[in-house]
Symmetry: C2
Subunit: 361 residues, 2 copies
């Protein structure tokens, strides 16, 4: 039986996509063999990557061609934590970071190692339970960029809207909520996401950037870490993770076939609302994020004791509700509700939560 | 019909492996869902990655545990071209490079961008058609490392044995011939390979290194580019390309089931010998690599004219012999004969070559 998969990522993929991939694995797109066996320089693969790029642009609402460039890279968001300051910041003109969680903190730390970043806000003191109001953070107009992590997977908070960075280029790590809701993506100078939550399998990172960001050539930067080199090579400087790009294209097609971003976003709202309503119903469960900052992707909550949480997780696991354990740095329970998670899985979780509460009453 | 796949990489995968992956795609290892949907921090995935690592160690003949560490990274050999000098060299103590082809040259160029590399040999003047003798290259005993590209995919040459680097740590890019023949791998201080030729799909890079290489902490190096950080995180600093690691494990199991490296190596020798014999038979085809430097992985040859080569490629394609076009920088014909290419495909190519020659006679 297929489990209800609440993993924080890698996580559940759309079943119809997996079924399609399975059917065509030995004969992708009528080629007679598997996409993994194709050359990354073949016309067949070009068709796959351009199709994925066009779907991504449509879903993000970013027009084709300039000024936006789309790169399919490797190394996860973690490599972007390094590439962003290496390409865009200097010791004299640093990147400013809105540190609202663990991944935002890691992004800042990589910039700090390079001497090229500082915090514009740091939520450590408030335990990362909320997203700051505009008056609580501050970036200098001279900052190289303002970095935001739009959704915080570990603490279950999410920026309700993109922060207003005024004239500072906005750089957004959207790894855990890309294409989960409608946003004015064109306000970002650079947005990026590891694919393994809403887009596809692990091993692919999507970077969308405005070309004018790259006006300055950075001396002493290896080509593989240089956005300019990737752009100049038409997005295929070295071998792509071809299968992951293919699979992402299938996931994006699934999203479009389902009705596009507005339909997916509505579904995500409903799934999250259903779960938060159950959390708030009696006080048996306690949401950890500030209500105004609650994420629709990662829902974090606690029970009265760690012992009770342990029993909750064991019972859930036995019912094939998997991936509910909170991140080791936060504890508690976390249910990740990415795009591909069916509403039925949230219904199953809510039903289990009621039963569990009743059993403890 | 499944083509005869002579792609230079990504390339052919073992059919039994693809069939197994297809069968288990919706229910990997009895989990009820797809490996791509598992957490990279789950015990299930740990079992997959440790199994792949143990198989790799056995096939390379490297004992478990210290001093060897195995890393499953992303970014291809191209990212290693940057990480190696970033981690191991300085302006004062550079890496020395044996430049025997295009990829070796790219590796050197990344080191040069960092001011941390120079050529110990450069085959440009001889058109990269041969591997130098020991007296033709020279590295200082004070070099940070000696970098060798054991097989040159584009020009079809291969080091007949690992160069003797004496006391200098040997760093080997084995992307295009890893596990194709028996070698004293323990003579390498670091060896690496993109997976997409002999190991699995694109999107995974294997790095095996001796831990004593990392004695020096490099200041100002982002964690994601720091081998020490990867080793300290037990090889899983950030999300692995989990499906690619899984698939590599299946390919390595296939190799072991076939009889291990000695059987695969013998088969590779025979495949290459069959093709070179046909090339040398009449003079209609002309091998481009110096006979003593010929690669058993990538066989490069020319016909009398570019026009004839074009016809050769068209006829081959029509018979489903694919991927035979030489690299754009070298021209001509190139047949890549990686581990997973069946002998029957080489036989089909040889038969076609005879027919084509006869038709032109």
């Amino acid at each position: 039986m297929r489990p209800h998969n609440f993993n924080a990522g890698p996580s559940v993929l759309p079943l119809p996509v997996l079924e399609e991939v399975q059917r065509s694995l030995l004969d992708t797109n009528g080629s007679g063999h598997c996409i993994m066996e194709w050359s990354h320089r073949s016309p067949e693969y070009d068709a796959v990557r351009f199709d994925a790029e066009q779907r991504l642009r449509r879903l993000l609402g970013l027009p084709s061609g300039d000024p936006w460039k789309v790169l399919f890279l490797q190394g996860g968001a973690s490599l972007q934590f390094a590439m962003i300051p290496m390409n865009l910041a200097t010791r004299d003109r640093q990147g400013h970071y809105l540190v609202t969680g663990v991944w935002a903190k890691k992004a800042l730390e990589e910039a700090e190692r390079l001497g090229a970043g500082r915090a514009a806000y740091h939520g450590k003191t408030s335990g990362f339970t909320r997203i700051p109001e505009a008056h609580e953070w501050r970036a200098d107009a001279s900052a190289a960029y303002l970095h935001v992590t739009t959704n915080n997977t570990i603490y279950g908070t999410q920026w309700p809207a993109l922060p207003d960075s005024a004239s500072i280029p906005l750089v957004a790590d959207m790894s855990s909520d890309i294409l989960s809701r409608s946003l004015p993506h064109d306000r970002c100078a650079l947005l990026y996401a590891g694919a393994q939550k809403n887009l596809g399998p692990a091993g692919l990172t999507v970077v969308v950037l405005r070309q004018d960001l790259l006006a300055r050539k950075v001396e002493g930067l290896p080509a593989i870490l240089d956005y300019r080199a990737h752009v100049e090579a038409d997005g295929i400087l070295n071998t792509h993770p071809t299968f992951a790009v293919y699979l992402m294209g299938r996931v994006l097609k699934w999203m479009e076939d389902e009705g596009g971003l507005s339909v997916i976003a509505k579904r995500n709202q409903e799934k999250a609302a259903m779960l938060y309503a159950e959390i708030d119903r009696t006080g048996f469960y306690r949401g950890t994020a500030d209500p105004a900052s609650r994420s629709i992707m990662n829902v974090c909550f606690r029970l009265a004791s760690e012992d009770l949480e342990k029993r909750f997780l064991e019972h859930a696991e036995a019912l094939r509700l998997v991936g509910l354990k909170g991140h080791r740095s936060a504890g508690g329970i976390r249910a990740s509700l990415y795009n591909a998670l069916p509403s039925a899985s949230v219904e199953a979780l809510v039903a289990f939560m009621r039963d569990f509460e009743r059993g403890c009453g």
